[in-house]
């Protein structure tokens, strides 16, 4: 017979693990990290409250009820990710691409998981076992502790979402099997229990195929709007080579093969998405990186000596910078080692960045950009900020006045900061906040440009392009992008907007 504290540990480990994975799967689908985490954890806790309350309303047979609860949780947890993937695939095919559909699907599931999880602790405390409530609670907390450490840091990078819930589901099934003896279940029912468990485990073989269809559908979805018939879309989709998905400790990295984009967008293009947001595209890479590097250096008015790249682990900005012989030192700061590894080894990407990360003038640092600028010792002539947009509070830190003020302290007197921002929206949008934040950090002069990609430059002196020197440097496509957006900037400055700061951050929501 199993002791109550280890059981309490195991059960809370599995339940919290399901919750963590479900929250992450929902963030992946909706792109709004804050809302997804908050609502799924909230609804899960609400479910726990309900469950604990309902459990206390009537007389219970702790062992038998616990066995029932664990069966429900093991099955629901085991299929949590597949359910969400199937649901999202269906929503894509139906053409409902609002976040609402995803939340409407995932939150009741989190509530259901939470509801049955809520039964666990009162039932365990109800067993007459000689253990004090404090000891059972302690084991329960310890299980939760282990899940919050083990799941995001170790299990997810290793097994991704599907694999993680499968492992948790099996553990949960083992826990349920341990309850058979104390619940005094008959031999016949024990046999049913075990064979049913093994049969469900056999369904594991379907999961990779489902994940593949899901991932294909996500990137195929722009095409689904134009396609008339479901059957023809489905046939095209089935024939396509699947995107490659990697899970790093920080994000999902999806590599799209060229034929994928040629089918979806009509042109061959090698693309890399991080957390489903386009980060590298062979087709537009030249425009984006030429605009940032040559545009930035042109605004600076001289070839820089020392340059800092924050983000940009793909190595494409570094490659463009290396075309200037005057640049002696480039520091590149990227948080995710998986991105750097990919930039150094993945063939298509190596062709794009020409091995820039291995150049002697480029110094790669695997670090948090905020911490790097806090500790930086030298000054830079040019700082290029190529970071993901602030979809979460973590990323929002890299758009605060403190961050920009730290960068400003490490700029040469005539130095220039150039930041990639989301394209300005007609109404709302984050631009006013970002502009007010740059101002609060002490930058006196701002300059915005870019029609396809949008950049804001900040310095302490007036800024303008010198097209005479700029035109020979860039391609025609880039030149069309290097158009001043002074009116949008002026408009943003006039609009009300909070200053984003570390102790008083702004919630930006999902930005593309």
């Amino acid at each position: 017979m199993i002791g109550i504290p280890p059981l309490a540990f195991l059960l809370s480990f599995c339940s919290l693990g399901y919750q963590l994975v479900l929250a992450l799967a929902l963030s992946d689908a909706t792109g709004d990290f804050v809302l997804s985490q908050t609502l799924s954890l909230g609804v899960f806790l609400l479910g726990m409250g309900l469950g604990a309350f309902i459990c206390g309303r009537s007389k219970r047979e702790p062992w038998r009820d616990l066995l029932k609860v664990e069966w429900i949780l093991a099955v629901a947890g085991f299929f949590a990710v597949s359910y969400l993937q199937m649901g999202e695939t269906l929503l894509q095919f139906l053409g409902w691409r609002q976040q609402f559909g995803l939340f409407a699907m995932a939150l009741p599931y989190a509530l259901w998981l939470g509801y049955w999880t809520g039964f666990e602790l009162p039932l365990l405390l109800g067993v007459k076992s000689g253990f004090k409530p404090g000891q059972v609670l302690a084991a329960n907390y310890l299980g939760a502790f282990t899940a919050t450490i083990l799941v995001p840091i170790y299990l997810l990078p290793l097994l991704d979402l599907t694999g993680t819930v499968q492992v948790l589901g099996v553990l949960n099934f083992v826990a349920a099997s341990l309850l058979l003896a104390p619940a005094s279940v008959t031999a016949f029912r024990t046999a049913i229990h075990l064979s049913l468990g093994v049969a469900i485990l056999g369904l594991v073989r379907l999961a990779p195929a489902l994940s593949e269809v899901h991932l294909k559908t996500v990137y195929f979805s722009p095409r689904l709007t134009n396609e008339a018939s479901f059957a023809s879309s489905w046939n095209v989709l089935r024939a396509l080579e699947a995107p490659i998905r990697l899970r790093s400790s920080y994000q999902w990295i999806d590599l799209l093969p060229p034929e994928f984009s040629s089918t979806v967008q009509g042109e061959q293009d090698f693309q890399i998405y991080m957390d489903r947001k386009l980060q590298v595209s062979a087709g537009s890479a030249q425009r984006y990186h030429e605009s940032m590097v040559h545009g930035g250096i042109n605004l600076l008015g001289r070839a820089p000596n020392r340059v800092l790249i924050l983000g940009g682990g793909d190595g494409l900005l570094a490659r463009e910078l290396l075309t200037y012989a005057e640049i002696q030192h480039v520091d590149l700061v990227e948080l995710d080692p998986a991105v750097i590894q990919m930039a150094r080894t993945q063939n298509d990407l190596k062709i794009l960045n020409a091995g820039a990360l291995n150049a002697a003038r480029v110094h790669v640092h695997t670090d948090d950009a905020f911490q790097f600028v806090r500790g930086a010792e030298k000054n830079y002539d040019l700082v290029l900020v190529d970071l993901p947009f602030p979809n979460s509070y973590d990323l929002s830190l890299l758009y605060t006045k403190e961050f920009y003020a730290l960068v400003r302290r490490h700029l040469a007197e005539d130095g220039l900061l150039l930041v990639d921002f989301p394209l300005p929206a007609d109404r709302g949008g984050p631009l006013p906040t970002l502009v007010h934040t740059l101002r609060a950090a002490g930058f006196e002069r701002l300059f915005a440009f870019g029609t396809e990609d949008f950049f804001v430059a900040a310095a302490s002196r007036p800024l303008a392009f010198d097209f005479e020197t700029l035109v020979p440097k860039v391609s025609n496509q880039t030149l069309l992008n290097l158009i001043s957006r002074a009116s949008e900037l002026e408009h943003a400055e006039r609009e009300e907007g909070r200053v984003n700061s570390v102790l008083f951050p702004v919630h930006f929501g999902s930005l593309q």
């Binding site: 009162p122 004090k132 310890l142 702004v506």
Partner: protein
């Protein structure tokens, strides 16, 4: 005051402290995935220890009153202290204080529920636990969607400590003379929060 309502407030305060600490650590030490996991992990482990040792206290009401006293003083003092250490560049000292604060606040939070379960006379075990989860629900929706972006990290911290001092008064009305000055100091801190925030911010960027 009813045991279920108290349980909800305890659940709320515990989770808010956890969020404030996790957010502070990711601002000050970077690598927020790790900081969040470490904070929540340490906090929950300390809660486990707290709930384990709570069985040793004889008078649950007195012990709860003391928990609220310690939380209302320790939580804001420790947080402001490690913030100040970190923004002035004493990063190792700041980490030591921050991790001690996580363990201390987690421990105190962990003792609350078992003590409260011993005080329970009317409501069922499930109702008390259910109320605790509801308090946590309120915290985890309010913190990222309202408290963090509209109130800010520090004001949220002080207001939560103020709630702890109010609980002191509820648990032991006759000793209200001790709860009032603590509440007064916390109210002053809330009033002057913009000044403290700006001072931290200036110090952080090395001004």
């Amino acid at each position: 005051m009813s045991v279920a309502a108290t349980s909800a407030i305890f659940g709320y305060c515990g989770l808010i402290y956890e969020f404030v600490l996790a957010q502070s650590l990711s601002i000050l030490f970077g690598h927020s995935v790790v900081q969040y996991s470490v904070t929540i992990g340490l906090f929950i482990a300390a809660m486990g220890l707290g709930s384990h040792l709570a069985e040793n206290f004889h008078d649950p009401r007195l012990a709860l009153w003391r928990t609220q006293l310690c939380l209302s003083l320790l939580a804001p003092a420790a947080c402001v202290f490690f913030w100040w250490l970190a923004v002035s560049g004493h990063l190792i000292a700041a980490r030591v204080v921050a991790y001690s604060a996580i363990v201390g606040i987690g421990f105190l939070t962990g003792t609350e529920l078992p003590l409260l379960l011993r005080l329970r006379a009317g409501p069922s075990l499930g109702a008390v636990l259910g109320a605790d989860y509801l308090g946590m629900l309120a915290a985890c929706v309010l913190f990222p969607l309202w408290l963090l972006p509209e109130i800010g990290v520090l004001k949220t911290l002080f207001a939560t400590a103020l709630l702890n001092s109010a609980m002191m008064a509820c648990l032991w009305p006759r000793r209200i003379s001790l709860a009032i000055p603590i509440a007064g100091v916390l109210a002053l801190l809330i009033y002057f929060e913009p000044l403290i925030r700006e001072a931290m911010s200036t110090k952080l960027v090395g001004g």
